[in-house]
């Protein structure tokens, strides 16, 4: 059976589907990936020639971050979605509907790795429910994020009572 992975931006204006095995998954600490993602690093998985990538809804906007590389994102909500270079295209793993499907196997650009990044699994942790007292709006929050699966129409035509 052919592997199928889907994903897209937060608002759902741009959606993609990959048929076939994903390539190497990595995290890149280089300063360009940090700033492009606003993160400590960028998690990227390459799409090998053997796989078929289709943009199933909407179109990417691109920023040419150097003469060789462009970065694709959703113009409506900003989600970073691709890193595109002469050697191929890579997708932002966090944008996959199931980001756990692409566990990274290597770290790139470690000359720019932040001094605290290696300790980030050791700092204290909380679940979102812990924040209810400080942020009571969480209890009645209705997400406008696209769900983690493909949809026939988006935004939904009718409000869905189950969402509330």
């Amino acid at each position: 059976m052919v592997q199928v992975h889907s994903g897209g931006c937060q608002c759902g204006a741009v959606r993609f589907r990959v048929e076939g095995p994903l390539g190497e998954a990595s995290i890149c600490h280089c300063r360009m990936c940090q700033k492009a993602f606003g993160g400590l690093y960028a998690p990227l998985v390459s799409v090998p020639d053997a796989a078929k990538l289709a943009w199933t809804r909407g179109r990417l906007k691109h920023f040419q971050s150097s003469n060789h590389a462009a970065r694709g994102f959703c113009a409506d909500c900003g989600t970073p979605l691709t890193y595109e270079a002469p050697d191929g295209i890579a997708l932002a793993i966090g944008a996959f509907d199931d980001p756990a499907a692409a566990p990274p196997v290597i770290q790139f650009g470690v000359e720019a790795k932040l001094p605290f990044t290696d300790r980030m699994a050791e700092i204290p942790e909380r679940v979102t429910e812990d924040d209810m007292e400080a942020a009571p709006f969480l209890a009645t929050l209705v997400s406008f994020q696209h769900p983690d699966h493909d949809t026939d129409t988006w935004p939904p035509v009718e409000p869905r009572a189950n969402d509330i």
Partner: protein, 164 residues
């Protein structure tokens, strides 16, 4: 470490949107919740709080996506960089840690939303490491560094530079 009283500056990858914050960097943390993941295409979104009274957009303005009624997320419409998390009506705004010019000036103290954390998170930091390498390009990494279109990690009087 950051000098006492020195403002923190930052912005998007292309430099169209820049900001400055004075005062304390509040509750620097990593949010693993599914909304922060998808908004940033990443495994988690690192955020830093600032008092809105001490925060200003110094060049351009972000575009906003309301990911739910109470919360909007700011990004650069030109290059996509995730920049801000804003609870409407709050006296504080959160900015993305990776968009700081000096990311190492602030160290995250906590992980939130860990119900959404990817299962391999703790293993990411033990993966094999490699520095930036573009030997696949004719001129190697120099092809990227000499044509880098990312805004430098400090404020600029004019951008893009006139020689482009």
């Amino acid at each position: 470490m950051r000098e006492a009283g020195k403002p923190l500056t930052g912005g998007c990858q292309c430099g169209a949107v820049r900001y400055r914050m004075r005062g304390e960097a509040m509750y620097p943390h990593l949010c693993h919740c599914r909304m922060c993941q998808k908004a940033s295409g990443n495994f988690f979104l690192p955020l830093i709080g600032a008092s809105k009274e001490k925060f200003e957009w110094t060049r351009g303005e972000p575009s906003w996506f309301h990911s739910s009624e109470p919360v909007r997320r700011g990004f650069c419409s030109q290059c996509g960089t995730p920049l801000a998390f804003d609870t409407v009506g709050s006296s504080h705004i959160s900015i993305t840690h990776g968009s700081l010019d000096d990311v190492a000036a602030v160290t995250p103290v906590e992980q939130s939303g860990v119900e959404g954390r990817v299962p391999f998170y703790a293993e990411l930091f033990a993966l094999s490491e490699t520095g930036s390498n573009r030997d696949d390009l004719p001129g190697g990494i120099e092809d990227v560094s000499s044509t880098n279109r990312q805004h430098p990690d400090h404020d600029t009087d004019r951008w893009p530079a006139s020689d482009r």
